[in-house]
């Protein structure tokens, strides 16, 4: 396999895209871990549910915006056809993921208002949505690196 050096003009948009995606995944891990902790334990459930909700608002969404802006920037620089399979996977998981994030945030907000009762079923929904997003983004990382047609 020969080394492939990309044009210099692609580096900055790629950095913005990848850094945003990495922070997005990191913030989602916090959401899943915090909500998982809130579901498992009685003590501290209120604090952990609040942490999951705040992380969605001040971690996940800003990172998503950086990732998505970077994706448009690098796609424009590379001039990749929209019908390329790996680009389609990226758009699908990004746009579909945004919808799931919005749903998770609303549900997490409702869960955080349950107070000391714990997050209950709402918390389980946030946990599952976060886990689904993490699996989807692992699949996306595969698509971005293997670049299937």
């Amino acid at each position: 396999m020969l080394a492939i050096v990309r044009p210099d003009a692609w580096n900055l948009p790629l950095l913005v895209h990848v850094a945003g995606a990495m922070l997005l995944v990191g913030a989602l891990v916090v959401v899943v871990a915090a909500m998982g902790g809130a579901l498992r334990r009685g003590d501290g459930a209120e604090v952990l549910t609040g942490l999951a909700f705040r992380t969605l608002l001040i971690g996940v969404f800003p990172a998503y915006i950086v990732m998505r802006a970077g994706s448009e920037w690098i796609a424009a620089e590379e001039d990749v056809p929209d019908d390329a399979g790996w680009i389609g996977i990226g758009y699908m998981t990004a746009d579909g993921g945004l919808l799931l994030m919005i749903i998770a945030s609303i549900v997490a907000w409702r869960a955080s208002r349950r107070g000391a009762d714990g997050p209950g079923g709402l918390g389980r929904a946030v946990f599952v949505l976060g886990a689904v997003l993490l699996v989807a983004y692992a699949f996306t990382i595969w698509a971005m690196t293997a670049k299937p047609d």
């Binding site: 916090v30 902790g37 293997a146």
Partner: protein, 134 residues
């Protein structure tokens, strides 16, 4: 999928885990204090940092050996290895405390350690994308 594509995928996936580890450590240090947060976030932070760190090193070195045109003694690869060791040294100190069940805030100079981890990881990402000298 070719071996190159597998290695690249696993290398990049490991880098995502590494950054996720830094983010979770950051929330442990700067987020809500107390045992519930430490118990919920400590183990994932440790696991993500360790698995991600090992993965980027193993698959990164394998990639450098596999790809014609990259050598382990290329400047940007040597820089990456140095940054990896710096980040690992800082992360190891935090990880030892988390393994012993100590709150991360109570560890000596935990803020400095986390800053070193974050800066070295950010520098690694810059190095991997811009590949200076390649």
């Amino acid at each position: 999928m070719s071996l190159y594509e597998w290695l690249l995928f696993l290398h990049v996936l490991a880098a995502f885990l590494l950054v996720a580890g830094v983010v979770v450590y950051g929330v442990l240090l700067l987020g809500p204090a107390g045992q519930p947060a430490a118990r919920a976030l400590g183990p994932p932070a440790l696991a993500l940092w360790n698995v991600g760190g090992l993965g980027v090193l193993v698959f990164g070195v394998w990639l450098a050996l596999e790809v014609d045109g990259y050598e382990l003694w290329d400047g940007w690869i040597v820089a990456a290895l140095i940054l990896w060791f710096v980040a690992s040294a800082a992360g190891g100190r935090l990880g030892a405390g988390v393994r012993e069940g100590q709150p991360i805030r109570s560890l000596d100079r935990s803020g400095v350690m986390l800053a070193i981890m974050a800066l070295a990881t950010a520098a690694l990402l810059l190095d991997m994308i811009f590949k200076p000298g390649a």
